[in-house]
Symmetry: C2
Subunit: 396 residues, 2 copies
């Protein structure tokens, strides 16, 4: 039998999805599961976006430009301008989700065995894109004790080698919910300039900043034009995860010229989804105001509830819709399976994502879970009650 | 300034799209251009596919399963069964176009510097996917004189090294229009089994077989289950290039398990496009009958017209909707630019794809062009007239 590639064998399985068979078995037993494990919002997609797809008058569903519709790119550039990001429609390429933007970014800046430094815990699929690109992820640890703030710059500098090509951040962070301050972004800008690296920022949760805080983009840092590469997506902003539309943006012309070659090879991003995404840009501010208010309440309810459980430590998120909670147990993966296989409270249980999959350093985060607060407040309250009862029973 | 990767620099520019600026300039001068250079059919997308998208009742556009809708995979398996391809819904993963299926296939079976043998000329983007995967393409030459039939197996065997992982074919062929016979597919099956390689077949033009010929899939070859990987797409079959839906299929469980890890990293294929693709499976046979009839007429008109031009050699295609024509000139790229920049017949000109971009061996195919017969017959007739006049003037 012909052999699978070493790369293919090394590709990580999704840490979020590997509990799915246990959940399916629990559902078959008639259990209700509160899914705190995935970042699929329950928020409705803006009506304008959905309507645009329904009223399209396409007769031949043809390829679009490899960089995406020009009309969409122009409107998107205007959206960025409103967000203090001054880029033109030529500084961005529409991609098939933020996922493809990450793949293009890695291919553009790194060769096999090159290194990219990423503060951990980080979005687990960065491992997948790195493995498929042959790139080595070098983690720098952030800690729950200080809410997953940026590690000291000296910790980054210890890790920089001749193979280091970039620092990659997610801001606001999945899975930490941490929102980097202007000061932290400036520190990162200094270090990448000093060592001639790229700074790649996954900013797909831009709108999800709470308590009056404002997101500060790497694209807004003066003098960082040649270093900054932004990854973006409509998935979370408009609750359009299934569209699969994102973008890669940089003012570095060589970066964009190279990314365009990757874009041409795959021909074009999906047409219907571009129609929806372009229309979504007309979503009124009230939509976001309501969404942010809703997520703020959810976060407050979740964090308050978790903090009231004995032995639970939680890093209060400032953005996105995730938080990492440290539980008074040793093995969160075992606990997560047990929740689905062996526990229920009035036939209900919860599903959480073991956090170890978000760490690259072996043996870290073993007693942590990622919780996505993408459920209604009353469901979150109930989920926390179940978690509390479960922890008591599990530890007994 | 931080550096672009070696891989990024090596990524090929699209040979099909690089003449676009010349075409834009010609359009600005008021010229009408018959576009024979791209494989974008003018055929209408099936009404059922478009209607399904318009009548969707999605409120939250959420991620789908990473392997695609289960309902779609089941219907797709039934479609394959009708085409003598016995696979179950678990033997296939829905991808974002055939493009992504190729990327998953390469990642699954080859590591950096591994080799894949491909009969040339071949679909130019294979180079892009190979470069981005770090894989080396090893071309084996097929020739216009015998219509681009399968090169002798001995020619493949000369090229097999310990780094060879697979043979990749496109059947029916883009850009050659060649349809491999059952005998040729059997020869390929024998050689991959003998040398323990994968056989990857891009079968996206399956339906486009002319003169009563039937497409013979690698998935139908007995005993090839562990070696065969099929790439497919809805783009050409239903004139839905903009959907960006394809699939990768294999009965090799390890291959599918590995491809699934690549699929999970990018989360899911586009939702609207899956809805359209699933509905497209209900397209009645008459649609295809009409399309095949139309393409057969177009092919006949084109080939007849080209053969009547002095010094032109054309390999009559048996499938797909491309042909390679050898012109009585030295440099087809120069000629293609000249057609756009300096020539017109009553203010009309044609755009062709220089074939050199479809060859991997430097210096081959320089006097050939790829012509896609995706235009109405009367337009094809006119395009041939223009080409004839242009060749006369260019050679004068």
């Amino acid at each position: 039998m012909p052999k699978i590639s070493i790369k293919g064998l090394a590709m990580p399985e999704s840490p979020i999805r590997k509990l799915v068979p246990y959940a399916e078995a629990a559902t078959k037993k008639g259990r209700t599961i509160y899914q705190l494990n995935i970042g699929q919002p329950d928020i409705k997609t803006p009506a304008k976006a959905l309507a645009a797809v329904k009223t399209n008058n396409i007769e031949v569903l043809s390829y679009s430009h490899s960089a995406g519709f020009e009309s969409y790119r122009k409107k998107l550039a205007a959206y960025y301008k409103k967000n203090d990001i001054e880029i033109s429609s030529n500084d961005l390429i529409i991609t098939t989700g933020g996922s493809e933007a990450l793949l293009f970014a890695m291919g553009t800046i790194a060769d096999a065995d090159d290194e990219i430094i990423i503060p951990e815990p980080f979005y687990a699929n960065y491992n997948g894109f790195a493995t498929s690109s042959g790139v080595t992820v070098v983690p720098v640890q952030s800690n729950i004790e200080d809410g997953f703030a940026l590690p000291p710059i000296s910790e980054f500098e210890k890790l920089i080698t001749p193979k280091t090509k970039a620092i990659l951040i997610c801001n606001p962070g999945n899975p930490t919910g941490y929102l980097y301050t202007r000061e932290e972004i400036s520190q990162l800008a200094e270090i990448v300039k000093k060592h001639d690296l790229f700074l790649v920022a996954d900013e797909v949760y831009r709108e999800f900043a709470y308590d009056g805080a404002t997101h500060y983009s790497i694209m807004s840092v003066p003098g960082l034009e040649e270093h900054a590469i932004m990854i973006d997506s409509v998935s979370k902003r408009y609750s359009m995860c299934g569209a699969r539309i994102g973008c890669i943006a940089s003012k570095n012309k060589e970066v964009m010229k190279t990314a365009m070659k990757f874009a041409q090879a795959r021909l074009s991003p999906p047409t219907f989804a571009q129609i929806a995404s372009e229309a979504a840009l007309d979503t009124p501010q009230e939509y976001f105001d309501e969404v942010i208010e809703e997520y703020t309440s959810r976060r407050n309810t979740l964090v308050k509830g978790l903090e009231e459980i004995d032995g639970v430590i939680v890093a209060k998120p400032k953005g996105a819709f995730y938080c990492i909670a440290q539980l008074p147990i040793e093995d969160a993966e075992d606990f997560a399976k047990w929740l689905l296989e062996s526990f229920h409270l009035n036939n209900e249980t919860v599903m959480v994502a073991p956090a170890a999959g978000f760490y690259s350093t072996p043996g870290t985060g073993l007693n942590q879970v990622r919780i996505a607060y993408v459920l209604k407040e009353e469901d979150l309250k109930r989920a926390v009650e179940i978690l509390k009862a479960a922890l008591k029973e599990y530890r007994a």
